[in-house]
């Protein structure tokens, strides 16, 4: 399973390296969302700084939807999905591989958006460790949930409108927990961030496990 995962992850990342869609489209979209929020919240920096953790995670969530759409789209060619099915690759491995690729892309996005938040909103980091830990687990959860719904909706024509509506409510806890954890890490108030990081870990674990367990059914549903 792990070998298949590495294979699929490598394939997806190599496609990304060559096509650079995420780099040129999804990441700028994330930055754009931050910009739009700045326009919405007004020129005064105070509301922006206070809302910065939440705005960051909302931007990440929107970008996740795009990243998942892209990950599904690379396999939407004629017979590609069927080829994947009959290739003998372990479906769980395929799931993990795609999730890993999405996760890597999201992490790159988050690094850039963190910079954006620090610069554009004037936020200040109190604890880099907390920032990193929560971001890693949140990303794992997002990638897992995103891959599940992406695979589920792969064969549908209405995927573009339906996927966000399916994925985003499910990732609401990540938004909640990530925001709270980052509030602590950015010193924007709030109590201890530990329970939130724990929630992020649970979410990631649950959704990774679900994806692996249902990978076979998911592949048939596509």
């Amino acid at each position: 399973m792990w070998r298949d995962a590495a294979l699929v992850a490598g394939k997806d990342l190599r496609i990304e390296l060559r096509s650079r869609v995420v780099l040129h489209q999804v990441i700028p979209f994330g930055v754009l969302v931050l910009l739009l929020f700045a326009l919405a919240l007004g020129p005064d920096r105070r509301p922006m700084v206070q809302a910065a953790p939440g705005l960051f995670w909302v931007a990440v969530l929107f970008a996740t939807v795009l990243a998942v759409q892209r990950s599904v789209a690379v396999e939407s060619g004629d017979g590609v999905r069927d080829g994947l099915r009959v290739s003998g690759l372990d479906p769980a491995g395929v799931f993990l591989g795609k999730a890993a690729a999405i996760g890597a892309q999201l992490l790159a996005l988050e690094v850039l958006l963190t910079g954006g938040v620090l610069v554009l909103y004037g936020a200040q980091v109190r604890s880099y460790g907390a920032l990193l830990t929560s971001a890693v687990f949140a990303t794992a959860g997002l990638a897992a949930a995103g891959t599940i719904y992406g695979t589920l909706s792969a064969g549908m024509r209405v995927r573009e409108t339906l996927l966000p509506f399916l994925l985003l409510p499910v990732t609401a806890p990540v938004l909640l927990a990530g925001t709270r954890a980052w509030q602590v890490a950015l010193g924007a108030g709030g109590s201890a961030g530990d329970p939130w990081v724990r929630l992020l870990v649970v979410f990631a674990a649950v959704y990774l496990a679900l994806g692996v367990a249902m990978a076979g059914a998911l592949q048939e549903a596509a």
Partner: protein, 354 residues
């Protein structure tokens, strides 16, 4: 809600016979092939036996009776609360509706989805039950929010508050709407069932996580919680009985609705099959007529449909409105990537078949 005489409709002999498809016709291949034989053949649903029919009917009647009783007790007989005065009367409705929506409906849908996904217990029954449970559950969830909001307005002064309960219920409503949207995506029943079962499980896994995160959101957050929507801790006497009655009434109502909605699901699957079979038979008859040189009856639109059916193996979506100009109902010819097209015909086609 009146009784359920419709359930007692006389057993139609033809309803039991499985609908037979001609395997050669291109459409039949599309419809039959993906339906795996580990799923009970949709065919025509067996009419319910007398026991089931009587139970459902009794449930409906009991629901009405209990509800009426609850209203009478709740609005007139029971005393106003010491703290909330008359506002407490909504406790006989709102918590029961919430309980049914959050636990009964969702639990049924989740359990049914698991049973469908498990190969040993797979059956179209579970898929239909899950769909029915989610749809009825969505109505109850929306009602939970509405009654909660109506209760909140005089109690807290606001129509909405971001307390743990309301927030997680709102999220649950959106999740259920997502399931319903997924259910409407055209495709063969087996794929649709699989997708929806997976989605239901993924959603169900999310529910406890959402619950905890929202509760922590409200309690760990350092703001003072101004809103405390709890009832007085002890509820006793006639109020307790009325509350229990309220639970019973709403549960019975849910049970009846679930049964009827399930029946609707089974029937609509059969109706689609029957329409399809009839339309195919007609097309084949026309094909024979054309082959022997006679002009096909039915006019230009049936010829178009014939042509469309012949080419429908290609993954293209055709605008069926152009094909059936006199069809009163929207028709969809949709093919999912890589799969043969599935055609759902409107009532015009069915009428022509009669």
């Amino acid at each position: 809600m009146t009784g359920v005489p419709g359930v007692d409709a006389p057993v139609v002999p033809g309803v039991d016979a499985p609908v037979v498809h001609d395997v050669d016709a291109p459409m039949a291949r599309g419809v039959d092939a993906p339906v795996a034989h580990d799923v009970a053949m949709p065919g025509a649903p067996r009419p319910w036996g007398p026991v089931a029919t009587w139970t459902v009917r009794a449930m409906g009647v009991a629901a009405v009776v209990c509800t009426a009783l609850t209203v009478w007790l709740g609005l007139w007989v029971t005393p106003p609360d010491a703290v909330q005065h008359d506002l407490v009367r909504l406790v006989y409705l709102h918590p029961p509706i919430a309980w049914v929506a959050l636990y009964l409906a969702f639990g049924t849908a989740g359990l049914a989805s698991v049973l469908w996904l498990w190969p040993r217990t797979r059956s179209a029954l579970w898929d239909r039950l899950a769909a029915a449970a989610v749809e009825v559950g969505t109505v109850f969830t929306a009602l939970t929010l509405v009654t909660g909001s109506i209760w909140g307005r005089p109690t807290w002064g606001v129509w909405w508050a971001w307390d743990a309960r309301l927030t997680s219920t709102a999220l649950l409503l959106v999740l259920q709407l997502g399931y319903l949207a997924l259910r409407r995506v055209p495709g063969d029943p087996d794929t649709r069932a699989r997708r929806c079962a997976v989605a239901a499980l993924v959603t169900a896994a999310d529910v406890p996580i959402v619950h905890f995160s929202v509760v922590w959101w409200r309690t760990l957050h350092q703001q003072a919680t101004v809103l405390n929507a709890n009832l007085s801790p002890t509820i006793h006497g006639s109020m307790a009985w009325t509350l229990l009655l309220g639970f019973v009434a709403v549960t019975l109502a849910f049970g009846w609705m679930l049964a009827v909605r399930y029946r609707i699901e089974a029937l609509s699957a059969a109706a689609e099959e029957a329409e399809l079979g009839a339309a195919l038979a007609e097309r084949r008859a026309e094909g024979l007529a054309v082959g022997s040189g006679a002009a096909p009856a039915g006019g230009p639109d049936t010829a178009l449909l014939h042509g469309a059916l012949a080419t429908a193996g290609q993954p293209q979506a055709t605008d069926a409105e152009a094909l059936c100009p006199d069809a009163g109902h929207p028709v969809a010819v949709e093919s999912d990537a890589g799969q043969p097209a599935a055609v759902r015909l409107g009532s015009a086609a069915a009428e022509r078949a009669q």
